[in-house]
Amino acid sequence: MKKNWRSSALFAYALAILAFLYLPLLILTLYSFNNSRINAVWAGFTFDWYLALLHNRRVIEALTNSLVIATISTIISTVLGTMAALALNRYKFKYKAVINGLLYLPILIPEIVMGLSLLVLFSQASVPLGKSTLILAHITFCLSFVIITVNARLEGMHKDLEQAASDLYATPWQTFRYITLPLALPGIVAGALIAFTLSIDDFIISFFVAGPNSTTLPLYVYAMVKRGISPEINALSTVLMFTTISLIVIAQVLQPQHSTAKKKTE
């Protein structure tokens, strides 16, 4: 009896926590379908705000900027990050622990410090602010996340398959191409998806290093709020949120499935 009471209390507590996390997002989404300009009153259901977004050239430009920047920085940071993770995982060299630590540091450094320091760097080197500086900045902070994700995957991999490949006279390239890369692929894809998500979401660092013709979606949303919170912003935030959520779901789906596949190969 007592146990029953306890577990239902625990269940209620868990529900409360979930509500705390998701209620604001739900309300935001709900009001993006509100047929009134005011957030305070519900006046019926409409898709108008989403249609309005489609016809707003500035929104489309911001979206294109976000996608272009996210795609390019994802590709570059994934390639660089995977190579770094392989090197860190495979080779022993002097100061390896220090380098490891330095690579993880950007995750811990407050974003605002990173944004500011990048801005100072770019203006000192008189690099004109714009899409290119945004891409460089995004690569910088995505890199660490890719390295961590890929490294975690490599750590979980056994060396025996690669050794077996060498035993069977596979060249180092063949071993990499047919054994290492396919095994590490889920980690790499997950890393790439995390990088893409981070890049699409980033506000603080982008805020510092954006220049002409490089307003991203989060920057646009922020500037719009100054004009008053309209359902258009709700709709835009909802789109942004669901893009992010679906990317994370894809990354999650890719991870566990491979661990079963790995068991089979073992």
């Binding site: 300009r37 957030n39 500035r58 996608l67 272009v68 770019f122 920057l219 500037a223």
Partner: protein
């Protein structure tokens, strides 16, 4: 099975990547080809009628890159850091004088902007840029008392009406240091740029008495609060009052007899702008009577263009909120950069906001 799935995902990413690279490089090479035809505009979000921008692009065969900032300090930081990246910026009044002092603005070629003569005379050379060499006014407005006629039966005339105990818990003030203290200073007949400690102490003591009646200090969602009738009386900008009135016809707006803050957003050209000529064409274009009528109808602020009145709709011209600001424009005093005087404002402001 799994490999195939990963392969599909990778192929997808690759395809997107190649497409994006194509777009990216396309976007990069384009401005090089048509370098003189780009206008890098740095402004507030949603500050122009999209049709008007499109009309300018068509007329001068150019592309407008419209980037946005959310406050003046952000604009200043970007201009100081990024150098000559933008061709046209929109600082507010006090920021214009700050930027002139910091030598961040180009002198405008007045011959290339003949339409500036269309602007109402007393807005052509405002206090923040007395010679009008560096800026042209774009949107302007005044801070006044907004009230809901349903709850506030007697039409307010003075800032003192905010202190009426009947409105306890229903007063909303702008979430802005200078606006709130400027209001209290004006109430006592002082300048809203005062840095005199005694005058500020008087204002502060008075604001402390008002604090328990204040529902919120709010700038971003103040309109919603008045539309939903959470707030009965408070301080608001004339442009916002006009917006609020459209959704709630009980809203009234007055400029108090003691005077108030007048503010403006302007056009200015940062030092070293690469397309200064096009930027000046843009400013001139915005003051063609027909264009400015179309533009201000869209953004819903007072049109400073005298010659545009003939092209405005009756609805726009008879908007009571906008009319109030025009009628009482002489009551306004521009906020000036008060330098280190701001420290005292900041201290009192922090203290004020902790009172409940």
């Amino acid at each position: 099975m799994m490999k195939k799935r990963i392969a599909v995902v990778l192929m997808g990413i690759f395809a997107i990547a190649i497409l994006a690279m194509g777009c990216g490089s396309g976007a990069k090479t384009q401005p090089v080809k048509s370098e003189p035809q780009v206008l890098n505009l740095f402004s507030w979000a949603d500050n122009f009628s999209p049709e008007v921008l499109a009309a300018f692009e068509k007329k001068y065969n150019c592309k407008i890159n419209y980037d946005v900032f959310a406050n003046n300090e952000e604009l200043l930081a970007k201009i100081q850091a990024g150098g000559s990246q933008y061709d046209l910026i929109q600082p507010s009044d006090y920021m214009v004088s700050t930027m002139i002092k910091l030598n961040l603005l180009e002198k405008l070629d007045k011959n290339k902007i003949p339409n500036r003569n269309n602007i109402v005379k007393n807005l052509q050379s405002p206090a923040y840029d007395p010679t009008g060499d560096y800026s042209v006014i774009y949107t302007w407005g005044m801070t006044g008392i907004v009230y809901n006629k349903k709850y506030v039966k007697e039409t307010p005339t003075s800032w003192a009406d905010l202190w009426n105990p009947a409105y306890k818990g229903r007063v909303i003030l702008l979430n802005d240091n200078r606006e709130v203290f400027g209001m209290a200073l004006k109430k006592h007949g002082f300048s809203n740029n005062s840095i005199d400690k005694d005058q500020l102490d008087t204002a502060f003591a008075d604001l402390k008495k008002l604090a328990p009646s204040v529902l919120a200090y709010d700038t971003d969602t103040i309109k919603q609060k008045f539309i939903a009738e959470e707030g009965w009386i408070g301080t608001m900008w004339s442009g916002d009052a006009s917006f609020t009135y459209k959704d709630n016809k009980n809203i009234g707006f007055i400029i108090p007899k003691e005077g108030t803050v007048i503010w403006a957003d302007t056009f200015a050209i940062p030092k070293g702008a690469k397309h200064k000529d096009l930027a000046e064409k843009f400013i001139n274009f915005m003051y063609e009577p027909k264009i400015s009528a179309q533009n201000y109808e869209y953004i819903g602020y007072n049109d400073p263009n005298e010659k545009a009145q003939a092209f405005h709709s009756k609805e726009f011209l008879s908007d009571p909120m906008l009319k109030v600001a025009v009628d009482d424009v002489k009551q306004g005093e521009w906020l000036k950069d008060i330098g280190s005087g701001l420290t005292l404002y900041d201290r009192y402001w922090t203290e004020l906001k902790t009172i409940k």
